[in-house]
Structures are given as C-alpha cells and as structure tokens.
Symmetry: C2
Subunit: 415 residues, 2 copies
C-alpha cells in the first residue's frame, strides 16, 4: 500500500492570494489510484521551514508531491532544498535546457541567465517535460525507495504534467489499473443513502464513496485490477446492488465526473425528439440557463419567458389576472397556467414553470419562504409539484431548478 | 507579532472531495490582520494523527484555527482531541444546548441524543454561536497563552462565525483595528492594472492587493490603526490615488467583498426608479438570473424573454423574420430589435438583449465563435455593443452577462 503526501510550496498560498486547487486535484487523483494520504501541508518560500517539511513528510510517506517553487527566481527553492535533503548537487540537464529554450522561442520572449536554474536537477532525476510553461517537473529519488515528485504551481501546467507523465509513472510502479463509475442520485438525502449502503461503503476493492452537492448525492465506485476489463468485472456487481437498493432515485451511471441533471434532461429530450420551453418566476432564468449550459441544447430549447413581476405573467404567458387574484401568484393553479401558457405560445412538446417565494422576504404564514410550485405541461396534459424548501434564496432557487430538471427527464423518459 | 496556523480536519479534504476554500478565506483574513502564518495542514478524521498535528502546530503558533469535525458523529473528533491535548474534560454548556435545540426547531428536524455532543466543551471555553448551523464553535485556551479556535467546516457557517465573532476577538486581543475597502474594476486586464499600480502594491500599511475573477479585477486596500477612523484616514489617500490612475473602469468602492456588477446595476436602476427587461439568446437566462440574484430585485426586474431558437425571436420579441433573414440572427440589427421588442412588450424603462455564438460549434469565418452583440434600449433610443470574446462556452456567456450588467449600470447612472 503506497502512501503519498502533498506539499504545496508558496507564500501566496499562506497569504490566501491563491486558492489551493492543486491539492484537491492531486488528492482526488491519488485517492482514485488507491494511494493512501494522511497529511497535506502548505509552507512558504522559506528554506529552513521547507527542509523541515520535507523531512517530516518523507518520514511518513513513500511519495512526496510538491507543487510550486520551480521558477527562476531566488524565491524558487523547492528543488534546491530537496537536493539538500537528498544530500546531492544540482547539475544541468541538456534535455531540460532545450525544452526551456523552445518555450521561450514559442512565447517570443527573451531568456535570462537565471532561467538556466530551471534546467538543474540532481543526477538521478527523471524529468517531466512541461508542455505549457518553462518549468520542467521531476521525479527525484530520495533514498530508501522514496521519491519526491516536483510539479509546477500553475494548475494549467500541473494538471497535464500529472495526468500524462507522473500518474502513468506511479501506475506502472504499482502495475495496476483503476476504473471508476459515478452513480448520480437525486431525491434522496445523504443520510438515507448512507443508511441503505453502509455495508457496501466499507469494501476495499471495489470501493464505494459518496459525496454530496446541493440536493444531490454522487457515489464513486472504483475497482483496481490488472486490466480495465477485470476492474469492470469487479465493479458491475456493486453497481447492480446499489441500483437494486436505491431504485428510481438514481438518474445516471456514468464514467466521468462531469454529469448533471440538466444534461440528462437535455439528452432525454433529444432522444424523444421533444422541444422545451419554460416560464420562470423565482428561478429568474436559472432553469433555461441550466438547459442552455449543455452543448447542443439549441435543438431542444426553443425559448422561455421570465415572468418575474406578477403582471408579466399575464402579459407574456397569458395567465388570467383573475386567476392570479383568486389563487395567489404562488399557487398550483398559476404554476399550471404558466406552463400551459408558454407551451402553447412557443408550441413546444413540453414546458416547465416555477413560481414561489425564494426569500429572504415575502413569506407569509400561509405561504412561507420556500413554498414553490413547479408546473409541467405536455401535449397530453399538465401536472404541478408542490415543494417546501428550506435555506437561503440561492439554495431555494437552485433546488427548484434541479427538481424541474428531474421532472423533465422523468417526463421525457416516460412511455 | 502573533503567529497563527490553520489546521483543517476532514478525510473528505484528503480525498479531494471538497476544495479547501476555508484555508484561503482564513489565511486571507489573517494576513489582512497582520497575523503571520508559516504552515497550513490538513489531516483526516484520525485521533492519533490529529493529536500529533495539534502538538506540532501549538509548538509553532500562538493561535491554531481548526475547521471541520464539529458534527455529532463518532468521526467528529476535533474538540475531543484538543481537550485531550489540553488535558481537560468536555462538559455540557447549557447555552450551546439551547442554541442547538433552537436550530432543530427552526429546521423542523428531530434532535438525536448524539447531537448533545455538539454542546460539550472544555470548562474555560469561549463559545462562538452558529447562526447558520447546529455546530457551535469555540475559543479554547491551551496553556502558555495559546488558544485553539474551532470553526465548523461548511463555509456558509465558518465565514460569518469568523467575521462576526472570532476576528473581533483576535482584534481585541491585538488592540488594533483593520479596515478594508474593495475597489472593483471591469474593463481593464490584470496586467494593465498591475502595471499602473505596481508602486502602490509594495506598501506595508496601507496594503493594496489585487485579485481577479472572470473579466474583473478587485483590489483590496487595507489599513491597520488604533481606531477605525485612523485606519480610514490612512486608506483614503490610497483609494484616491487608485481612482486617479484608473478612472472610469472602477465601478464600485465598497466595504465588503460580496459586491457584483449585477448588484451595482440593480442599485443604479432602483436609484433611478427604472424597470428593466431582457431578451436573451446565447446567455439563455444568465442576465436575468444575475439581476434576480440580488435581493430586492423584484421592484426593478419586470420580466424577460429567452429567445434561444431563431423563430422564438419573432414569436416572443416580434423581431421581423425578414430582418433575421437579411442581417443574420447574430447581428447588431437583430440585437437592437430584440432589446426594443422586449422593452415595448413589457413596457420597461430599459431593456437589454444579447445574441451571439457561444460555441464550441456554430462559428463561421465571418461570425466566429465569441462574436456577440449586446443591445441596450431605453425610452429615448437604442444602441448596440459589438464584443469579440474568446474562451469556453461558459466564459463567453458569462462575459456577455457582465458586459451587459456594466452597460445597464452606466446607462442608469447617465444624466
């Protein structure tokens, strides 16, 4: 079992000038690789403290991954201090020098003499070439089978260097392949999911780990094996068991992390050959914007109305003023009329609507903040969902959007 | 000189499931307070490793600030391990118990017996009440004048607790007051801002530090003095100098970090007594959604149309089909007709529109991806901005929204 530790170097991180996205990126990749991590550290550009941090990290981990401090200035001490800890000298690597010269030609910039320090490494180093900047990375043996992996600070340079060079090196060292699947859930809380799957979440291989975003739970199932096929064979029974236990609340099982309810809704609409429109009040454009966020949405999203003030519901969607006066603007009746109104006006196969109180003001004892009605109209009829949401204005609006996206997906998938 | 160290607790951080925004938030605030920081650490939910981390941090710092691990489960060990390090027992704090009971009533949820663990602290603790969750924070004396400050993990709970309770406590301890002002810039790149202000950014007191978000630069000016008035007196000449050097691209100087172009637009509209509507194509609701995000927007935002497909521009906004055929749907003429159409239909004082190519597909040599027209119509006329943007679909749509918000603000502020 390999243990890794991330050591980010840079006073800008200690001052809060930069958000440490590198630590998240690397720890997520390492965790998917089955590499254990127990500590993460940030230190500034100070040689004594960095040396101490190296010694501590190397006493606890097999692989210490640094980010930052590979530039040409005197502040860039990451490699120099690691060499001191290893008890070795830095020497010029001609291949690194050539890469740096090439970058400068490419960027039409002049090299300064101190840029040559970026081509200096301890003699037994494995170079990591940088396709997006002037600082090469390195894999540096530190004795006792331990290594330090140096990566540049800018995420645009660090991420491809990790994915294309460092990670394959680590995988080759372990001789294993990892395969992950992402199971997406809407309509069941984290604690309920946890309760139903607790025994499955304790496994070693495959592993199952939940994480949450607003209103959603995502499960990552990961298996490790000699080949991708063997890993998938380990994974499938776990996925089947999760499906059997959770049923309908699973809206997608995918091989990447970037899915969303809106994308599933757009795909279901495309598959059915349906067009969609929306009439939005409290969501103020969020529902349509979520649909339009999906590349290729233009074949299904015809258009929408944002009827924020009461009169605009009548002016745009043709909701009778009498109906608003009688039932209230936040009511099932008005939500249904909004959905039907926009569907007829834009002649789409399906239409959604939302009216409600996002807060923080505007609630009453009968219609408290968080009361929301979502209307769904198709060519064959209409229905309304009554939601009672809690939390901030932003949360109430976003949850409304997610409920609507889920309803669209279900409606389009229905026979 | 006070030294602080941030210690974030949670296996979810080591796994990369959560981005460590708390470390950035806290280190930025501490740095503004003039508190030194030399290390940041993340450890998982493991008592032995956490104990070791506490001892190491307390050997180096006067104040150790933890985030996370204040929940009711057995995994939540942050307070328990600190108490062990301090050599003290946890006892029930009735005031904390009352706060927790109140939150549960407010959220209409049932308390479980283990929630009582959230009300337990060492006897000499100063409580930090949590206005947005069930976990109280704490300032815990650790001997030798050192303290541990426990904060909850969710940023929505941590940030107000820090700003309203922990930071004033630290300030009172140091006897100094910090005052910050935020100077917001739209329409000038970071390097240009840097070049014009380089000499001002090297000062010690007041300090001036830039940070960027998409299309925007924000400068934080901070001064430290014995009283808020004295700090402001230090600050004002710096702010005046920045204004003199940058001029019109500054759209706001504010005393908090949460400003936005949309908020400034809504405030300018309110001040003028104007109503607004929008006709959105590539932005798909983003412009209206940004306006509606601002609490109290309901008095100015009447409603909008999202005319995503070409026909809907005719059906909803009354853009003549002949005009679209002749000029193309992405054209200044159509943008202007969209803005005028929605303004007349909803009878608002101002209306904005956007049509363009967000990509990744749909570009042509004449109208490449990133071509955008933003229309602005008022009761006295209409104008169109032609933007040529670059980057991802998301970036192009968001920049379009920001340009439109800035135009609304300028139009509403014009005499």
């Amino acid at each position: 079992m390999m243990i890794a530790e991330i050591l980010c170097v840079g006073t800008e991180l200690l001052m809060g000038q930069v958000l440490n996205t590198n630590a998240q990126f690397l720890s997520r990749r390492l965790s998917a690789l089955g590499v254990s991590q127990y500590h993460q550290t940030v230190v500034g550009d100070n040689a004594d403290r960095l040396e101490e941090a190296y010694r501590l990290a190397l006493s606890r981990a097999d692989v210490v991954i640094t980010s930052g401090g590979l530039g040409p200035t005197v502040d860039d001490i990451t490699k120099r201090v690691a060499a001191k800890v290893a008890g070795k000298e830095l020497v010029l690597f001609p291949q690194a020098e050539e890469m740096i010269r090439q970058r400068f030609r490419q960027y039409h910039k002049n090299m300064t003499p101190n840029n040559m320090s970026q081509a200096m490494f301890t003699p037994d180093t494995t170079l990591l070439l940088n396709a997006h900047g002037t600082a090469p990375g390195a894999i540096v043996p530190m004795g006792e089978g331990k290594v330090v992996i140096h990566l540049p600070g800018p995420p645009m340079e660090l991420q491809p260097m990790w994915l294309n060079q460092a990670e394959p090196w680590l995988q080759a060292r372990s001789g294993k392949t990892l395969v992950s699947r992402y199971i997406r859930i809407f309509g069941m809380g984290e604690s309920e999911v946890d309760q139903r799957l607790a025994d499955l979440e304790t496994g070693d291989n495959p592993t199952l780990s939940p994480y949450c975003s607003l209103g959603e739970v995502q499960l990552r199932a990961t298996a490790c094996a000699d080949t991708p096929e063997a890993a998938l064979q380990l994974l499938q029974p776990l996925i089947d068991e999760v499906k059997a236990r959770l049923g309908d609340v699973i809206y997608a099982v995918e091989d990447n992390e970037s899915g969303s309810l809106a994308r599933c809704a757009v795909e279901a609409l495309k598959h059915r050959g349906w067009t969609i429109s929306a009439c939005e009040s409290l969501t103020g454009g969020l529902m349509t914007s979520a649909l339009v966020d999906v590349p290729g949405a233009s074949t299904v999203v015809r258009g929408s109305m944002i009827t924020y003030q009461s009169e605009s519901k009548t002016m745009l969607a043709g909701v009778p003023k009498e109906l608003i006066d009688r039932c209230g603007v936040v009511s099932a009746e008005v939500a249904q009329a909004m959905a039907q109104g926009v569907r007829e006006k834009l002649d789409t196969d399906i239409a959604i609507s939302a009216t409600g109180i996002a807060g923080p003001d505007g609630g009453t004892p009968e219609t408290p903040v968080g009361t929301v009605f979502v209307g769904i109209a198709t060519r064959s009829g209409a229905r309304v969902m009554h939601l009672q949401l809690t939390g901030s204005r932003d949360r109430i609006r976003t949850l409304t959007m997610k409920h609507a996206m889920n309803a669209v997906r279900q409606e389009a998938e229905r026979n």
